[in-house]
């Protein structure tokens, strides 16, 4: 399990899990699950297009996921964001279908882009993943306060002169970078599960943003590590275990939250916990 050919897999999965835990926290907070599904899922079109013109896959993924992010934000000005996202993923997938129809050689690669090939990650794929991961983390650190405020209290953010539309686009660009980073090594299905399940579970345990983010990273790490180990032992696909563990973590989180509420220790519902979060964030911002 820890043989030399597995080292790349452990490293790639660990990097992806840390980034997914951090960025996923904001994905859940902003209700951006659809975008987190659409960008990784539609980005394969970029990979197929890159193959056609003989460019590196990661360039195609990057260009397409950034274009997708721009399109969701652009269409979102004139339509609801879920409609904008649906139209975007449909166009990306359709272009992917078009590119695939131009060549018969690329189709088998699609399976690995969707479901990942983490056990076969090469060292050459690891380097860009690590670099992009650092970029994503730095971006989140730089954007932390305005992103947090515009996520939980857009009105307050507006009043403080934060451009919420720009924050929307900035967050989508971060999601596009996460896509480019993760899809070549773990696949679109796995990165989506990691962006939603562990952060959603973490939020059920605490209302304090930094703690929730840390917990979300821990859950994501445990999820991928256990998934790799079990997948190695059973010879079944990793994606199955990541999906199942993410849903399991979320269920446990919800059960915990319900139990706490019953005991009456915390008298607030999910709505109030958002209000609570808003209060903390605005208080923090005011203290500065």
């Amino acid at each position: 399990m820890f043989a030399s050919f597995m080292v790349n897999a452990w490293e790639a999965a660990t990097i992806v899990a840390v980034v997914a835990g951090v960025v996923g926290f904001f994905t859940v907070l902003r209700g951006a699950a659809f975008a987190a599904h659409s960008l990784p899922n539609g980005a394969f079109a970029g990979a197929a297009g890159a193959f056609l013109i003989g460019v590196n896959t990661i360039v195609g993924l990057g260009v397409f996921s950034l274009a997708g992010a721009g399109m969701i934000a652009g269409l979102g000005r004139r339509a609801r964001s879920d409609v904008a996202t649906a139209l975007t993923i449909v166009l990306m997938l359709a272009l992917g279908d078009l590119f695939l129809s131009r060549t018969s050689e690329y189709a088998p690669e699609i399976f690995s882009l969707l479901f990942g090939e983490v056990l076969g990650v090469s060292a050459s794929k690891l380097a860009p993943t690590a670099v992009l991961a650092v970029v994503c983390i730095v971006a989140v650190i730089v954007l932390y306060r305005p992103l947090m405020l515009s996520s939980v209290a857009p009105d307050v953010a507006d009043a403080r002169g934060i451009n919420t539309r720009a924050m929307d686009l900035a967050f989508l660009v971060v999601l596009a970078l996460v896509t480019t980073m993760a899809v070549p090594v773990v696949g679109s299905l796995l990165i989506f599960s990691l962006l939603i399940g562990p952060p959603a579970a973490a939020r059920s345990f605490t209302n304090r943003p930094p703690v929730a983010m840390g917990l979300s990273v821990v859950f994501a790490l445990v999820t991928v590590w256990v998934a790799i180990a079990v997948s190695y032992e059973t010879n079944l696909p990793i994606g199955f275990f990541v999906g199942a563990l993410s849903a399991f973590a979320y269920t446990v989180g919800r059960a915990w939250a319900a139990w706490q509420q019953r005991r009456g220790r915390r008298h607030h519902s999910r709505d109030e916990s958002v209000a609570d979060l808003t209060e903390r964030t605005t208080a923090n911002a005011g203290a500065r």
Binding site: F34, A36, A79, A86, V90, A94, R102, S193, F240
Partner: protein
């Protein structure tokens, strides 16, 4: 002259080819149902659920493939269960809805990965993957039309049954609840209708077109029409138009592109996008900025009448 332009518009064999005829009929049925259901999907802000169900069904489709059953039954069974779980987790509040859909989608894709892997082992082909994911309107089994007609009719009948309370609760959940509309029952019925509609479209024309025909025509119609009833009719018409024109372009492109034609999905999506941008221009040209930006105010106005 007329004959000349006619034959250059429709490449030879378009009307006599049987796969094309089946594609046109199946496409039209799917388009009408998707258009009708889609208007409520857009009003209720459940595009994610609408798209997710087409992916979730993949797990059911691949499971059915594994046990040798017909794919469509796997799709329907999985989607109905998934819709139930989404409703249970709480699909009403925007962020809870987003999360509920995401969790169910993540778990289902995990299952799909497992089943597709088993499919690949048992039949040693990756054809199953691509087939289940993309579908193709030109390679449909002959008996599918009846099953689809039944599913489509059930879906539309469900919508018709709860039409008024559904419209009211879609526009204002609180008002509907205050007027003793059984909001959860109505919402559950709608999700069931959505699950059936998406199952039938995803299994025949693929996940891409399923979402394209569900959201695209409805979004176009809601930009143009001032009333929901009209929007539903416009959405169904736009969906059928896009489907047929797209199929025609795909068929004709075989000649232009030297044998290797463009995929139907791409052609239909392209038509929908052209119409979407055109509808934006029309709405703006009318000077009605309100409709061009959002349909919310218009719905609020209509709500007064419904209530």
């Amino acid at each position: 002259m007329l004959a000349l332009s006619w034959s250059s518009l429709f490449e030879p064999g378009f009307f006599s080819s049987e796969p094309v005829q089946v594609a046109l009929v199946v496409g039209a049925i799917t388009a009408v149902v998707s258009g009708i259901v889609g208007v409520f999907t857009v009003i209720r802000g459940q595009s994610f659920a609408g798209h997710a169900l087409s992916d979730i069904g993949t797990a059911g489709g691949s499971a059915a493939f594994l046990v040798g059953a017909s794919t469509i039954y796997g799709f329907v069974a999985f989607n109905v269960v998934a819709a139930g779980v989404m409703e249970l987790i709480g699909i009403r509040k925007p962020r809870g809805r987003d999360l509920a859909t995401g969790i169910v989608l993540g778990a289902s894709l995990g299952l799909a990965a497992l089943f597709l892997y088993e499919d690949t082992i048992s039949s040693s082909t990756t054809g199953a993957t691509v087939n289940v994911l993309f579908g193709s309107i030109f390679t449909l089994p002959p008996g599918i039309t009846t099953v689809m007609a039944v599913l489509g009719a059930t879906s539309v009948a469900l919508i018709a049954l709860v039409y008024r309370p559904l419209l009211l609760s879609s526009v204002s959940y609180e008002l509907a609840a205050a007027r003793r509309v059984p909001v959860r029952l109505v919402g559950g019925s709608y999700l069931l209708a959505l699950a059936l509609a998406v199952s039938m479209s995803a299994v025949t024309i693929g996940a891409i077109l399923s979402t394209a025909l569900l959201i695209g025509p409805a979004a176009i119609a809601l930009r143009l029409a001032t009333r929901t009833g009209v929007a539903i009719a416009v959405a169904a018409a736009v969906a059928v138009f896009a489907c047929w024109v797209g199929t025609l372009i795909a068929y004709d492109s075989t000649v232009w592109a030297g044998g290797n034609g463009w995929p139907v999905s791409f052609c239909i999506v392209a038509v929908i996008f052209v119409l979407y941008f055109a509808s934006g221009v029309v709405a703006r040209f009318r000077g009605d900025r309100r409709q061009a930006t959002t349909s919310d105010q218009r719905l609020a106005a209509e709500l007064v009448e419904v209530a």
